[in-house]
């Protein structure tokens, strides 16, 4: 069966029979510039299964979509015949407050879910955009500042219902927090960007909302940050991040924020620490965390009940390059970011959960693809040197960026286990119809 290219052989009748909401795609439905032939909004997992079975029979390329907040991340689809819009599936199926567990349909937004849980004093402890859908967050594996304490979507996901490329419905996990029965398909689908199948329902572990929170922030001045000069501020900020993240004060987040600035007027680094707990406990810990950051050379240090600017936020439309690393290498990574920026002629804004070993380098939306590619290539060379005989110690991934840069540098490179990932893809989607083109793995074990 030849499933290449777009020639859609009038499958509309079968698709519409499976899913009455079927409509013709419009430019507004474009996925990274590719307009789909059809858009359908299934009302249930069952309906979605019928739709995907019909799409399979017609050999259509299928792109799952939630609110579209992350749909522009990654490479554009190489084909896009049918967009499956999950937003009609936006209900809480089950929330048992005493169990701290919720089961929801994938099209519910994070904001809607937060409201539904707030009355019970509970939350899904992911700091992710309120407009995004639950399914989208799982599919993209989006995380926020509190990952070190609560984990990523994959860590809070305890059950998942998916529709496979061939239209078969499959469940894994369940609705109990502790469960090792069978393979954890949820782990595979979390972060799979729609390339393995369609997520229709998810069950999460919840947490009680903390009674009190406080942000402790400290600034670290940077006299001159260029590749050849180790700035004292950069060194002490790295030490502050490591000691805050490793302290028995149990921070929920340790973020670093370093706006781009210019070589002539470098901006200071800001280290922000989030503490959660009881009112008296948080106040006492905030005092000790302030001391810790001051001792590391930070100043001025402030304590606030509200989040500092840009907390956990990434600039709209920017190219986003994620660096992961062991925290002991933070200083080297910051220097590598400066050096890569210099060699590519760009000045990234650097932000992210440095205490958890990750940073996002954000480049202005108008940065040329060639400069992005050059920045990424240079950064990869330096980060690769951090890994040793005892295994990989990090990676550089382009989460969002211009297609030309993605094509030139690759979103991922030297991904461990890439051959196994390819085998998993072949098993779940042998015809490569689920979001074709989105994932790109350069070889290398």
């Amino acid at each position: 069966m030849d499933t290449e290219r777009v020639t859609v052989p009038a499958p509309a009748t079968a698709l519409a029979a499976a899913c009455p909401s079927l409509a013709v795609g419009t430019p507004g439905d474009a996925v990274a510039g590719v307009v789909p032939a059809y858009v359908a909004s299934p009302a249930s997992t069952q309906e979605a299964a019928g739709l995907l079975a019909a799409a399979a029979a017609a050999g259509l390329a299928v792109v799952p979509r939630g609110a579209g907040t992350g749909i522009g991340w990654g490479a554009p689809p190489s084909r896009c015949d049918l967009v499956v819009d999950l937003r009609a599936m936006n209900q809480v199926i089950e929330h048992e407050a005493g169990d701290l567990v919720v089961r929801v349909q994938a099209g519910m937004t994070i904001g809607q879910l937060a409201s539904a849980l707030a009355s019970a004093g509970q939350e899904l402890a992911l700091d992710v955009p309120a407009a995004a859908t639950v399914g989208g967050i799982v599919a993209t594996g989006t995380t926020g500042p509190r990952r070190p304490r609560y984990g990523s979507p994959r860590d809070l996901l305890i059950g998942l219902t998916v529709v496979r490329a061939d239209g078969v419905i499959a469940r894994s996990g369940g609705k109990v927090v502790k469960n090792v029965a069978g393979y954890d398909i949820g782990k595979l689908f979390a972060g799979s960007h729609g390339t393995l199948g369609l997520i229709t329902e998810a069950t999460f572990r919840l947490h009680p909302r903390p009674a009190a929170v406080a942000w402790v922030t400290a600034e670290f001045g940077v006299e001159r940050a260029d590749a050849s000069t180790a700035s004292a501020g950069l060194v002490s900020a790295s030490e502050a991040v490591a000691s805050a993240a490793g302290s028995a004060l149990v921070p929920s987040a340790v973020e670093l924020d370093w706006p781009g600035g210019s070589p002539q007027s470098p901006r200071p680094l800001r280290v922000g620490v989030l503490l959660e707990g009881t009112a008296s406990g948080v106040a006492e810990r905030a005092g000790r965390m302030s001391d810790l950051l001051t001792a590391a050379g930070g100043g001025p240090v402030s304590v606030s009940g509200t989040a500092p600017v840009r907390w956990g936020a990434l600039p709209d439309g920017a190219t986003i390059v994620r660096v992961s690393f062991w925290v002991s290498a933070l200083e080297s990574v910051l220097k590598a970011l400066v050096a890569a920026g210099e060699s590519a002629g760009v000045r990234p804004a650097v932000t992210g959960p440095a205490g958890a070993g990750a940073l996002y380098a954000c480049l202005d939306p108008d940065t040329p693809g060639s400069a992005v590619a050059s920045f990424v290539t240079s950064l990869r060379e330096q980060v690769a040197r951090l890994s040793g005989p005892a295994g990989p110690r990090g990676a550089v991934a382009v989460l969002a960026g211009p297609p030309t840069a993605l094509a030139a540098a690759g979103a991922y490179r030297d991904v461990p286990g890439a051959a196994l990932m390819a085998a998993v893809k072949d098993q779940f989607d042998p015809e490569h119809r689920m979001f074709p083109g989105r994932f790109y793995f350069a070889g290398g074990e």
Partner: protein, 490 residues
């Protein structure tokens, strides 16, 4: 090709002293911690390095001989039960702690390292390794990865999968590869997460990168006595309902207490119908506030005694009673079955009542020890194997308990794994399509089904040929890595 033909190559790879052929010696490997299932392996090898494991597996793959990995052999579901025509690959010689980076709070260890050895090595840096299965003195980290082991403190700290950030594995075809970038950030499919808890069916772990956590500033433990598990259960609900997440909440019923007293003289409150162990840890200022709330809630639920244990020796004494519970029931019963079902916490009372009536109807005693905080029950079904029919009756009660867990939306296993023991219950928890979908992962990793075959799934899936299109996508066609065959696009 049979195993005999492999012996010379195995001697070359591992050294003659590390290949076991003697029938008597082979018999010592016939079971893991679940002694009800026994099978003498055809051959045992003890490789000393990742390269040796890879070479051993490659030989098995070439010859079409099944192989099973084994760590310390403490598993409770028969996950490391050998294959009668296969090679048992024992990883106990690989016990190096390769590296500890206290600033990054990461350690790299070999699979044969015991769970507790990681925490001991990390202790000088004020760090520890959080997963703590009751067998932590002997169980191996490699085995913990295979089973996604939990432990009493996973309520707060999570399971093995939350503490592993990189795995070096030997694939079922004998290739060494890493899963994960070593940091805990996922790039591409989360194979690290899917592999953890796959019970040795997707490959063999040869190196593990684990997270280390700072040792809590303070630890407080309360031992609380109740007249019944129902009262204890109320206290558990109230504590969780108050927004407190203790490090651990464990419960034992009267029969389990009796067994623990007989075995380790833990000196729990006399005559208690149930005891609750609540441990709180964290920054001093937080724990003090939580402790007074927990005390009040425990008292309000009808506690007959609340005992605080603040120094490490006292705490260890109380934990000894709990951690010895499985072995201890040997003091009060000639034989027993350990179950591992899970129920939503709010169903604990109903399921315990069902267990009590199952016990009353059958005359089979059941001692209950459980991780109350996360609803993970460990009913110990007691019987006398010298009395005809008792073993069957106990097995029936045991199965009925799992049915009760599933009726309440629970799971057949919370931490012991499916192994050979519970694979027959998998179709009760999952539909045919669910199991078929899980096995797609198996087919991706191990299409020949040689790696720990016959475990987890009641019916193996035939992997067959996959008609995958592997053509470059137009947008990427020009990419040099694609052209060179070094890359591909999904």
């Amino acid at each position: 090709m049979g195993v005999d033909a492999l012996v010379p190559r195995m001697r070359d790879i591992c050294g003659a002293g590390n290949v076991v052929e003697d029938p008597l010696e082979l018999r010592t490997y016939e079971c893991d911690g679940l002694t009800a299932h026994r099978c003498v392996p055809a051959l045992v090898v003890l490789p000393g390095s990742a390269a040796e494991v890879a070479a051993v597996v490659a030989e098995c793959a070439r010859a079409g001989v099944p192989f099973v990995a084994r760590g310390s052999g403490t598993g409770l579901s028969g996950g490391a039960l050998p294959h009668k025509d296969g090679v048992l690959i024992v990883l106990s010689r690989m016990r190096a702690i390769v590296e500890i980076d206290p600033v990054s709070r990461r350690a790299v260890v070999e699979p044969g390292v015991t769970n507790l050895a990681v925490s001991k090595a990390a202790a000088p840096f004020g760090l520890f390794y959080a997963p703590d299965p009751s067998s932590q003195v002997v169980c191996s980290v490699g085995g913990n990865v295979a089973e996604n082991s939990g432990g009493a403190h996973c309520l707060k700290n999570g399971f093995t999968v939350h503490h592993v950030t990189g795995l070096e594995i030997v694939t079922p075809s004998g290739e060494l590869t890493w899963l994960g970038d070593g940091t805990g950030v996922t790039t591409g499919y989360d194979l690290l997460g899917a592999f953890t808890g796959s019970e040795g069916t997707l490959g063999i772990v040869t190196k593990i990168v684990v997270k280390l956590m700072p040792v809590p500033e303070v630890v407080h433990l309360l031992l609380v006595a109740y007249g019944s598990t129902a009262e204890g259960g109320r206290a558990v609900s109230d504590i969780i309902g108050a927004g407190i997440l203790p490090a651990a909440i464990e419960m034992m019923d009267a029969l389990a207490i009796e067994a623990a007293e007989a075995a380790v003289h833990c000196n729990y409150p006399a005559g208690a119908g149930a005891v609750l162990i609540v441990e709180l840890d964290g920054p001093a200022s937080e724990v003090e506030a939580e402790l007074s709330t927990v005390r009040a809630l425990c008292a309000a639920a009808g506690a007959t005694e609340i005992r605080a244990a603040d120094d490490p020796a006292e705490r260890a004494g109380i934990w000894a009673g709990r951690k010895s519970a499985f072995a201890a029931v040997g003091r009060i019963s000639p034989a027993y079955i350990v179950q591992d079902g899970v129920v939503p916490r709010t169903s604990l009372g109903a399921v315990l009542a069902q267990i009590a009536s199952l016990s009353a109807e059958s005359g089979i005693r059941v001692a209950n020890v459980f991780h109350a905080g996360d609803g993970n029950l460990h009913p110990l079904v007691l019987y006398d194997d010298t009395v005809p029919g008792q073993a069957e009756a106990a097995e029936k009660v045991s199965g009925a308990i799992l049915d009760a867990c599933l009726e309440h939306g629970g799971s057949i296993t919370g931490e012991h794994g499916v192994g050979v023991d519970k694979s027959r219950y998998m179709p009760k928890m999952f539909g045919a399509d669910d199991l078929d979908t899980m096995q797609l992962v198996r087919c991706a990793f191990d299409p020949a089904s040689l790696c720990n075959p016959g475990k987890v799934f009641p019916t193996p899936r035939l992997c067959g040929e996959v008609p995958g299109h592997r053509r470059a996508q137009p947008a990427m066609e020009g990419h040099p890595a694609v052209a060179a065959g070094q890359a591909e696009i999904f």
